[in-house]
């Protein structure tokens, strides 16, 4: 009896190791900051690098104030409770969190990158494990978080907080929601030509819902690019949509259809 238990334990160990090798807790980008990121933003919870979460983005970045990122979330993840997007070498590493209220297969966003960095997307499943996908972004024009940019004027003008959106039926059978909100998304690290600091000012929360209830909540930081665009793929989007947003000055914006 004892030996059979031992055998089971051995098989279990081997299986466990095999799974570890396939998924892996070793950072594929071998970044010295990963441990800190893991503690600070993934709460030190169990995290595995696997291909259930993938980061799609151009790897050579020439416009560091508009870096498009698409996070693909495999249906094999099952229920996802939280998605975090982290750009490690940014002065604001945590770009955004998304809390899905239904199955979401893709989350698209545009971000700022201060310099070359690993970009991590982590999805926390119901069992509390983070599944992490990574891409290395080679930033050819550093300073996406600290360069003053022309968008600021447009975003702070009469259209501040204007939300527009469209929905699309995608080839894979999902529905896509794509939305834009006009906002300067100031990081607080940029200066005017006169040398005055431009204070941080950004959209910090967005709630998406349709007639069937909430779709997802987003928590956003100033590392999201100016005039943010978000894209979400989910099945069975209802025709009536409601989007609410709030910025760091407490202003509230909404639109609905």
């Amino acid at each position: 009896m004892k030996s059979i238990l031992g055998l089971f334990a051995a098989i279990g160990l081997v299986l466990g190791m095999t799974q570890m090798a396939a998924a892996g807790s070793i950072d594929p980008n071998d970044s010295p900051l990963w441990q800190t990121m893991h503690q600070d933003f993934l709460y030190g919870d169990e995290a595995v690098f696997d291909d259930l979460v993938t980061v799609v983005m151009p790897v050579d970045i020439e416009n560091s104030t508009d870096v498009p990122v698409a996070i693909r979330l495999s249906p094999d993840l099952g229920e996802v409770e939280e998605v975090a997007l982290i750009a490690e070498n940014n002065p604001i590493p945590l770009v955004a969190r998304m809390y899905p209220h239904r199955q979401i297969n893709m989350f698209g966003i545009k971000i700022r990158l201060e310099m070359s960095t690993p970009v991590r997307a982590a999805a926390r499943t119901a069992d509390g494990v983070w599944h992490v996908g990574s891409e290395w972004a080679n930033v050819l024009t550093p300073g996406g978080c600290s360069a003053p940019i022309e968008f600021s004027e447009a975003g702070a003008g009469a259209r501040l907080g204007e939300i527009s959106f469209r929905t699309y039926a995608r080839d894979d059978g999902t529905d896509r929601l794509k939305m834009r909100i006009i906002h300067p998304m100031e990081t607080g690290f940029a200066f005017t030509p006169e040398g005055d600091e431009i204070p941080a000012y950004f959209v910090e929360r967005i709630e998406l819902a349709d007639e069937n209830g909430p779709i997802a909540d987003l928590v956003t930081n100033a590392a999201v690019a100016p005039d943010p665009i978000f894209t979400i793929d989910t099945a069975g989007l209802n025709q009536s949509l409601q989007i609410n947003a709030r910025d760091s000055e407490g202003l509230q914006f909404e639109t609905f259809r």
Binding site: V56, D60, A70, S164, Y168, T231
Partner: protein
């Protein structure tokens, strides 16, 4: 932790720039420019089929000059002070006629950033007014971009300067024994392009309206207008074309290739936005095989999508905003 990492990275970047600048100094910052006489009295400095980098110092552009009995006309001024100075030295080694006029075909840095040096030798520098505006608007930012892309050593002493004369409409320049036609062909590749035709030999300096065997740059482009300009140039009475980038053009196939690629870009970006693609999808999509022979394709394709897709997407969101 982040701050330490930042300063280490900054140090590494500085060290790399210093090394680049030292090695450039060790070589005496020379581009090794050689004037190739492609037709009687018409010379070209051929650029490399590469993107900007620390090794080439931005020598990726074709510049040239036309020698008349009275005077010389220079066409484009290269990416840096050092490039322009070298150009001027080589021209002077070939002819003692004064470089009375210089045409800068548009405001992009590889063509315009040497213009201060031509002014310095009392050449009259001519540009389209829109190109002048673009240079003064974007120049400082572009110097910063180029210092990052190819190292500060190559950029040392390069300053943004204004042209002396605006070219608003076609004009003929008598160089002595030959006439150069200077003709605005604007709003296609950039808001302020100019082409130059040496009428004696039928040599057309097309600036960046023609990229030969190289992916064109479109961030300031209006593709439908560019296609019109291709037709205009195709119908002109030329024997050979010096493109802004790539080897000499002697037949018409370049027009088909350029139109095919530009139409593809425009159509793909429009379809992509209409389908609801993300820009990440569009920028990482595969380019059809028939374009794979174009040099610098990958980086230019991504640049093109970034600007074209966002432009169309912005119009689409603006239209949606009116409805939502």
């Amino acid at each position: 932790m982040t701050i330490i990492r930042t300063s280490i990275s900054a140090f590494v970047v500085l060290a790399a720039l210093l090394a680049a600048s030292l090695s450039a100094h060790a070589r005496g910052l020379t581009y090794g420019l050689q004037a190739d006489e492609i037709a009687d009295g018409v010379y070209v400095f051929w650029g490399l089929q590469e993107n900007w980098n620390v090794q080439n110092g931005g020598n990726i552009v074709n510049t040239g000059f036309i020698v008349g009995d009275k005077e010389v006309l220079a066409i484009d001024t290269g990416p840096t002070k050092f490039y322009a100075d070298e150009m001027i030295r080589v021209i002077r080694s070939i002819t003692d006629k004064p470089i009375r006029n210089t045409v800068v075909t548009h405001h992009h840095p590889d063509h315009s950033f040497g213009l201060q040096r031509f002014k310095k030798i009392n050449s009259r520098v001519m540009m389209h007014p829109e190109a002048r505006a673009g240079l003064l608007r974007d120049g400082a930012a572009l110097i910063g971009f180029m210092e990052i892309a190819m190292g500060q050593g190559w950029m040392a002493g390069t300053e943004i300067d204004k042209p002396n004369k605006s070219i608003r409409q076609s004009m003929k320049l008598d160089l002595g024994g030959r006439t150069a036609l200077i003709m605005p062909l604007d709003g296609g590749h950039t808001p302020g392009d100019v082409i130059v035709m040496d009428q004696k030999t039928g040599t057309l300096f097309a600036g960046d309206l023609i990229f030969h065997q190289r992916a064109p740059t479109v961030p300031h482009a209006d593709i439908p207008t560019w296609l019109d300009h291709l037709n205009t140039m195709s119908a002109m009475d030329w024997q050979r074309i010096v493109p802004g980038h790539g080897p000499l053009v002697t037949d018409r196939s370049v027009f088909n290739m350029m139109a095919d690629y530009l139409e593809y870009l425009q159509q793909f970006a429009e379809d992509s936005v209409a389908r609801g693609d993300t820009l990440a999808d569009a920028m990482t999509s595969d380019v059809p095989e028939r374009f794979h022979g174009l040099s610098t394709l990958q980086i230019e394709y991504r640049r093109s999508m970034l600007s074209l897709f966002r432009k169309i997407e912005t119009q689409d969101f603006d239209a949606a905003a009116a409805v939502n």
